[in-house]
Symmetry: C2
Subunit: 203 residues, 2 copies
Amino acid sequence: MMRLHWSSRSPFVRKVMVAAHEVGLADRIERVPTVVALTKPDLALLPTNPLGKIPTLVLEDGTALYDSVVICEYLDQLAGPPRLFPAAGPARIEALRRHALGNGFMDFLLLWRTEMARPQPDRRILDGFAEKQAAVLAALEREAPRLDEGSFGIGQIGIGCALSYLDFRWPQAGWRLSHPALADWHAGFAARPSVQATEHVDA
Amino acid sequence: MMRLHWSSRSPFVRKVMVAAHEVGLADRIERVPTVVALTKPDLALLPTNPLGKIPTLVLEDGTALYDSVVICEYLDQLAGPPRLFPAAGPARIEALRRHALGNGFMDFLLLWRTEMARPQPDRRILDGFAEKQAAVLAALEREAPRLDEGSFGIGQIGIGCALSYLDFRWPQAGWRLSHPALADWHAGFAARPSVQATEHVDA
């Protein structure tokens, strides 16, 4: 068994578990519940992943892999002919750019929560996140009609998991009314068995 | 010409410029000075990159690429047979893991500076960064003797640029005495023409 430092609340972990389900490797991964946050570093994780982040995948030979997109690509290669990562060329760059958009969205959503939990949040930072969220959602609404072109893969997983995390942490965000094409696309994403098998839980 | 949203102070931008020099494409890139920070979002950049981050590469057809590692892979493919990104297989995963280590190091070094600039920094966050930095340097010291195995590429660029950024922002950090193998390796990295052509400047 591979061992995955895991949390039900992390969108980066979820991305890996969605990928694992998509390529049929979920039952080869033992989940090791692990809690990390900027304000709560897990010192026990540092010898395995010096960045102290999850997901971290420990292979049977002890090799530790990170970050989430590297783990996804590893699993995609391990399962057989890659399905989630296109071969070199324009389709690959497009998929990786989309993944980077979803992943960067996750990044600032987590920082946003950290900021809001401070005794004195920095208003400039909060306002910046709000502007970025509006820009990300607008960009995704424009891309939504083309998001299902080509095969399902890491680009859609990155974007879909970011939106699902937004729903998990800001259930009242109400982004669907103003982004109907994106809402449609996300409904299809959310119906995938890999996504349904990996719902966020605030344990 | 391609246009790169660029800053002399960003380690992520430097990674892209080192890659561009390594594959011989630096003179096809026009640098567009761009300042962004968590506390100073550049709203004018959001229509191009909704994450508001640099580097962002705008191709001649107007397509915008991000984040830094995606731009590096694009440039590597554009230049001809890829040199900086190994083909699928263990060497690729190893290179990407190393890149993720360097990139994650950059990520928290930037957050560390933001934290220190706050009126009331969160001591737990500062302590966490110090622990992570110690763990990253220890891990790199262990890896240093093997860092030059295989060909030079994105893994070494990620790690080397992170260390160079540490030198730029924390010139008194004094990490070399306690990490001699890593110091040796970084001296070789720093001597590369691509690295010398891209020195950080606090403009």
